[in-house]
Amino acid sequence: MDINQIPIPNVSPNLVIVSLFSLIAVVTGIGVVAFNNPIRSMLSLVANFFTLAFIYFSMGAEMMGIQQIVVYTGAIMVLFLFVIMLLNLSTDSLTMTRKFDVKPFLAVPVGLGVFALIASQILLPFKDTRTPSAPDATAVSVGWGSPQALGRALFTGYVWPFEIISLLLMVGIVGAILLARRRVEA
């Protein structure tokens, strides 16, 4: 057989890498709900966020990816871990006895419906795509995922939502302090 006759699959190395990371993300995503041990479950979520960040990196959205790591993997998940360890949840106390419930039977069709709805919207632009890239890579300028571009967008077009969200966070902080502080008898 002539070596030139073998069809070369139209796959770029980038696609292979993204597929690999996507696979890991899916597997760890299943792990989050499948593990009985809360620590394992949480670590699956950490791995999931980490691989998501890698997918963002591979698409050139560096800022997005690093936010994913800083905010979720580095801060929020560490706090989760901290709380789980402090409560010292053991696997035994979480094992539940299974009894008949109608919810799983309802959940399957509803979940599939939601999945179909989202997939029909997301998957359409990816038709015939061979390399992962931004949906509209030709229309946006070079360096669309850079900190500069993100900063400009946040402080020009989206400045009001941005400021309102920061106010919301401030309220959250103040609320946390109010709830956690020692009650002083007047």
């Binding site: 620590i39 670590l43 950490v46 560096e62 800022m63 690093i66 790591i69 800083v70 993997t73 580095g74 801060a75 560490v78 706090l79 871990l81 901290f82 360890m85 402090l86 360096g143 850079s146 900190p147």
Partner: protein, 443 residues
């Protein structure tokens, strides 16, 4: 030298992968080679500071004629390494096996991941191709992100060991790292404002401008600028806390927690923790060098500009080229300075108490870093609007207004309370014939 540069350029065009592998090796191999040396260096320096001798004779060879070949104990780390390799590797029965094996690897990972973004030389010429491994657009954020991942190594080992002391160490580690992460990020934020980029190579080139924008021949290393100095002090403290070193080594406090989170680890798994800690110290020394000490420049003098403005002086060109070719060594020296600082701290300071540690992080470092951030942002804004004279005037006005407000608020708060009585007391000094009397005010 030019041929070498061309050769590497040829390689980069034809074999980007090969070049990437070379870059990775050039970063990882020195760190791995240096780490055992660091342990020897720490033990010798510490013993010298504590008036002891320390490990100075491993590997001394006595020849037949009675002559001795001394290695100053440099072979000690090799002996240590051999010992650690051949020690029995005990896995306690009650551990969570998967996490127990995973966590040393996680502890080692951040040091190398951060090291990849540090530039060991200028961006032009051959160094531009060989370093850094990843010239990331988001260098400083990446650094913060990855260094915050180091906490998983500590926490997971504490959990997986299934030992109360380990768990305590892990929890302490988590709380400490989260607390100091914030202050570190805020101290770096003002550097990002000033250099206008997250890229580490651009942070260095921002420091190659004239000092304060006015002194022509001197480089603007950020540690010489007021905001940069404050940032540097905060960063230095946070960096010691992030690496779990004395005086912030509460996660492994020997007198309370046996060995903290790595109590249950032995043999090579313990060695991996050890290696991770030292590699992290080395890399953080490098980060401090890059961000505050002008990176790969030997001294804060702008040889480039001087050589350009004084074409007659060949010496200037020579020094400029020397500065260029010595760049990796300079960088290494800055890392070594960082390590020396760590060891000096270890010899000097006792361990903090836990509440002191938290109070320092949250009540002093974080507010100071945020204040520094706001001040430098305001300065940059004022300078853009009114030039540096205007900015100077504005800052003087701001200081006066702040002081006025502060005193007004203080007065208002003290308004209801009665002021403390003031008393004067006369002290009699001097000889009996010539008494000198001075009044001392007591509050």
């Amino acid at each position: 030298m030019k041929d070498l540069g061309q050769g590497i350029e040829w390689l980069s065009i034809h074999q980007p992968t090969t070049l990437a592998v070379i870059r990775v090796l050039l970063m990882i191999v020195p760190v791995l080679v240096i780490v055992p040396g660091l342990i020897w260096y720490e033990r010798r320096l510490l013993s010298w500071m504590q008036d002891r001798i320390g490990p100075n004779r491993t590997g001394t060879i006595t020849l037949k004629n009675g002559k001795k070949i001394r290695t100053f104990g440099l072979l000690q780390p090799i002996a240590d390494g051999v010992k650690l390799f051949f020690k029995e590797d005990i896995t306690p029965a009650a551990v969570d096996r998967f996490l127990y094996f995973l966590s040393p690897a996680i502890a080692l990972f951040p040091a190398f991941a951060i090291g990849g973004t540090l530039p060991w030389g200028p961006g032009h010429g051959i160094y531009g191709l060989l370093t850094p491994v990843w010239g990331s657009e988001i260098g400083l954020l990446y650094l913060l992100a990855i260094s915050s991942l180091g906490v998983y190594g500590v926490v997971l080992s504490g959990y997986a060991s299934n030992n109360k002391y380990s768990l305590m160490g892990g929890l302490r580690g988590a709380a400490q790292l989260i607390s100091y992460e914030l202050a570190m990020a805020m101290s770096l934020a003002s550097i990002i404002l000033v250099s206008g980029s997250l890229k580490l190579t651009e942070v260095v080139s921002a420091q190659e401008g004239p000092l304060w924008g006015v002194v022509y021949g001197v480089q603007n290393w950020f540690i010489f600028t007021p905001f940069g100095f404050v940032s540097a002090v905060i960063f230095l403290i946070c960096m010691v806390a992030e690496t779990n070193r004395v005086p912030f080594d509460l996660p492994e406090a020997e007198n309370e927690l046996i060995a903290g989170y790595h109590t249950e680890y032995s043999s090579m798994k313990f060695a991996v923790y050890f290696m991770g800690e030292y590699a992290m110290m080395f890399i953080f020394g490098g980060v401090f060098g890059v961000v505050f000490l002008g990176g790969y420049n030997i001294v804060p003098i702008r040889w480039d500009a001087l050589a350009g403005s004084m074409p007659g002086y060949g010496a200037m060109h020579f020094i400029r080229d020397a500065n260029y070719w010595l760049a990796p060594l300079t960088f290494l020296a800055k890392c070594a300075a960082g390590i020396t600082f760590y060891i000096w701290l270890r010899a000097t300071l006792p361990r903090l108490r836990y509440d002191q540690l938290m109070a320092l992080g949250w009540k002093f470092l974080l507010p100071a870093a945020v204040a520094n951030f706001i001040v430098s942002a305001a300065w940059i804004m004022a300078q853009k609007l009114w030039g540096w004279q205007g900015a100077l005037g504005a800052s003087v006005a701001a200081i006066m207004i702040t002081a006025g407000l502060y005193s007004a608020v203080k007065r208002a708060m003290n308004a209801g309370t009665t002021a403390m009585e003031k008393r004067t007391l006369a002290l009699v000094e001097g000889t009996e014939t010539v008494p000198s009397v001075r009044a001392v005010e007591l509050v």
